[in-house]
Symmetry: D3
């Protein structure tokens, strides 16, 4: 591992970034063609109800060592989301209210970490959103270097600095920098369509008819029977 | 697997079904003699506080393929709960707000699924209760048939169409159609007794005395000592 | 295993115990030198927001058998927290609202159990806090003896009767009876320092400067680069 | 749960049963239309290389209580396989070399248990095959009744007494008594075809051509490109 | 945590220790009254077939940091087994063939570690037995102190320096120094009895009769029926 | 996801590749600076003792759908290793003896798959090595496209087509194409040093002295005491 801090982090236009949060993780994931950019469901929000989007500042840390998180704060600016991967599985509480205070002071919108966090009652009061794999009071050392703003694999998804991170109660999805425009267009179109569909479904129209599924089901061989012959 | 939809699903009298929800999962489970009808604790509510009972409409689906859920909606009616088993372990988000809108329009009371769900913030706003093994934005395909209203094993419990499903913050329990009357009688009796017991315990009576446990403990050899001789 | 109930349980002065709850689990864990006294993060609160401290009354129970919990109630008094370990892994619902009523009537402040609990909706309404490894309606038998007030290993932490238990949304930490005074002093000092640090960090001072980390990072070989040479 | 022992257990003709073992679990599972009759992969052989088929004698046991296994031995005969489900998750060592000696003396061909086993070095020496979810020396009590020869759900599969159990290094599959003839015919046909296919594949014929997959892939939209345009 | 190395480690007479290995983990565990001295079944042998007993030299290490293992080697002597606990969950490969070479040179009989190990092919060739929770090539740092020969909790069992460790294919059990004589006597008596029982069971005597279980089963209410009335 | 097959896969010189297998996964991982290129320890060999190195042909597959594996065979040549990632967690048996026969006919050296495999007894007999996260007979469909020779994340490691894969009993490590020469040099140097070290350690030299650790331990504050003052 190169123990470096990359200081020039490309970032998307915040006006574009801000249009992702209201779309939500599931719609953005669908709009990106279900690319393998979704983090594992083991990552959960520390408190429910937050929905954010921001530019990724990435950290590769040693397990149980949060030295690089302190280093990363300085590289963050308004509109960022800090994404922390570990070199191996870890559930220690690598992040708490003091680091959150620092990030909030710089306009950072949230934290995504494939490890544990602590002080969650305070994080909820501060309104600082966090997605983590565990909640743990286990403390950490500051002994070994890692890296900031290098490509990482976090909770099963590849993340590069400057990618857009979208996170809500459904989880965390990454939009690679190169795909921002096309994904945004597809997601907004999808969301517009959903309103219309929702109204029809609420009125009792069946999805089988709305989506025209009956011919394909018949062709695939689905049979309707009154009782199950055994 | 037979790829069929069974259209004639026997259902219990809703007046009976409605008496199960206020009893709660733990009391119903106890009243059924702790039969192996309880789903695994890996199934959790997507949002806290819901408590429902309904008639099971069952689905056996391929992992990551929600085609059969769309098919199942048409087989549902007022008072039902949709129970979805997968042919293998799956955490994908096989159910979201549009399917919930369809089910709610038909009077369905909730979903129990041994897989993932998404759009959970919207499900909470809609008041549509869901018990699932995961929350995940991971999308699904509509490519392979399954079955509707066949016997399934869901989260470790055997479920037949028309069985009663009771679900709350404690989990999900199944009452087989043949056992409804006896289980209901036992559960209501148990609940009536509990009020009386609770009052005594709150007044400081010890369970050791209330349940008459002291002789059995003595016979089993329990010793009271002032300090632990090592 | 000795099947005994030890009736003379040493307890700390409640005036001291009461000073631990507002400090919180993470601060107490740090103040105790990160001793291996923290329970595993698999133990989670049954409902969010509680923060308590109390004297440990310990139970060693057979899995799926809550006989000893009934026995332990009699050994509890105001200011205690019941700590239940099992002889093997268990997720059954070994504790519910009736036992909670008994404990609350005696002034017990909460339950920590390396197994499952049930009736969680009622526990939340009662305001009785519980930390457990699972929520499960699965019922238990009363067939085999265990022990009360013996040393146990619960969720990876060694607990002796009379140790102080501190629990909140971050988890559960144990303060051995012999370390109460030193840990309390260290934790209160730590908390006092944190207020000052928080104000500086909120004002934008970097942790790198506040904690004087730059020289050590440089010595360890951290390099700052504008772009990542590959 | 009914605490009964059903003594008249229907069994298939052993001549038919014996034709299942050489077919193997994967082939039998495929031949049964991938019905949900396969146990979860958490069940593993205690030692590698065994491959057996037999008639199911079922046990429903309390976790950590092997009383019913002793009861079940008497109900076993030559050609049987004992299938043990627990009322809740359990990894205790509920089975060891003495019970294996008893079963082997009666001609029983193996054990399938959704719990733990012990004395595995001796089991391997005895050549008595076991599939379990864990290996654990943890001892058990004999305190609470269960049932023998009732329908059970074991490791996610429904098993009825008299069903055929097939087990090898790939896992455990159940053939319901009603499906024995059709499954056997389909599995033997499948196995015969596989020999021919294997020879062609070993000679370098591609599966794409042997199975005629190219048109369907093209229709589904698969594109071949020399390099990945990003 | 006190960062100390305790150099005067009490040890049992090796003539006594050597009598434990042939008894095996399951028999020793039973003979100790099923005390909570058994490690979790997540600890597995890195290669099958080894069976050892020795005196515990304990290590408390930081996760992903094997500095203290190097320190501990010097404290080991002939007949010891090294027992390594981590301050938090860890699966990194903290031990490999070079450390094994050092330990083997000092007459150490094996390693028990609640973390990962590597070079397992070489360990098997060397005949150096290891019980671990994972196999992983993940390397470790040497950055933070821990402790040697302090009481630890390893894989759920409390271990003090000088306790006897018994390990085989069934897992790992601890015999506290104070219980060596009584446990050894009970285990050898138990083993002597088992030979006799095994011969009777192999001859077809049922455990139900050999252990005299029929009256207790009848009293508990077990019913024998020819078919299951539903 | 782009549903493409990339047909022009850069590959390293086989003479270089062949030098990696005898070095072993742990040494190669260390030599690459412990870069985050190691797959998770959940990936285990289907049978012990194999040690291979080869060029990665990558597959991104839908869970429970092995259509793309059939497609990938055609893209493989002598010296390759097939690396299969899934778009979501999967334990189904996506690979068996017929696909292995095809790959072996083309000179492929092994399979790495973050899903399940089956026919493991036959794979062992064939000598075809496989690393997988599960063994399962669960069958798969051929319904949805994926991709071949695109960058994937497999078991937590990023893999690009043409990277070198090294796999043995310790797990699986990836050497990026750009780092082959430097990693090989560092690994061979490391291995040469290890022989010398092993001889010294076997002769009883302590690692504390061989690696010169004593001053750093003293500086870090390690204390040696005869007994543990409590």
């Amino acid at each position: 591992m190169k123990t470096v801090v990359v200081t020039r982090n490309p970032r998307a236009d915040l006006a574009l970034v801000d249009r992702f949060a209201p779309l939500g993780v599931s719609t953005v994931h669908e709009a990106s063609g279900r690319a393998p950019n979704l983090m594992k469901p083991s990552l959960r929000p520390a408190w429910p109800g937050a929905a954010v989007a921001g530019c990724a500042v990435t950290v590769l840390a040693q397990p149980g060592d949060n030295w690089m998180l302190h280093v990363a704060v300085e590289q963050c600016q308004k509109g960022d989301i800090l994404v922390v991967a570990c070199t191996t599985d870890c559930t220690d509480g690598m992040f708490g209210d003091l680091l959150a205070t620092s990030l909030q002071a710089r306009g950072v919108r949230g934290l995504v970490i494939d490890a544990g966090v602590r002080d969650v009652a305070t994080l909820r009061e501060m309104g600082f959103p966090v997605w983590s794999r565990a909640i743990s009071a286990r403390g950490t050392v500051k002994a070994t270097l890692g890296a900031v703003n290098v490509p990482v694999v976090c909770a099963g998804a590849a993340v590069r600095p400057g990618d857009i991170v979208v996170a809500d109660d459904d989880g965390v999805v990454i939009v690679p920098a190169a795909d921002i425009a096309t994904t945004l267009a597809a997601a907004e179109k999808r969301q517009a369509n959903e309103g219309e569909k929702r109204a029809k479904l609420a009125a009792g129209v069946l999805g089988l008819d709305l989506y025209g599924m009956r011919p394909a089901l018949e062709k695939a061989g689905l049979r309707y029977v009154e009782t199950l012959e055994e």
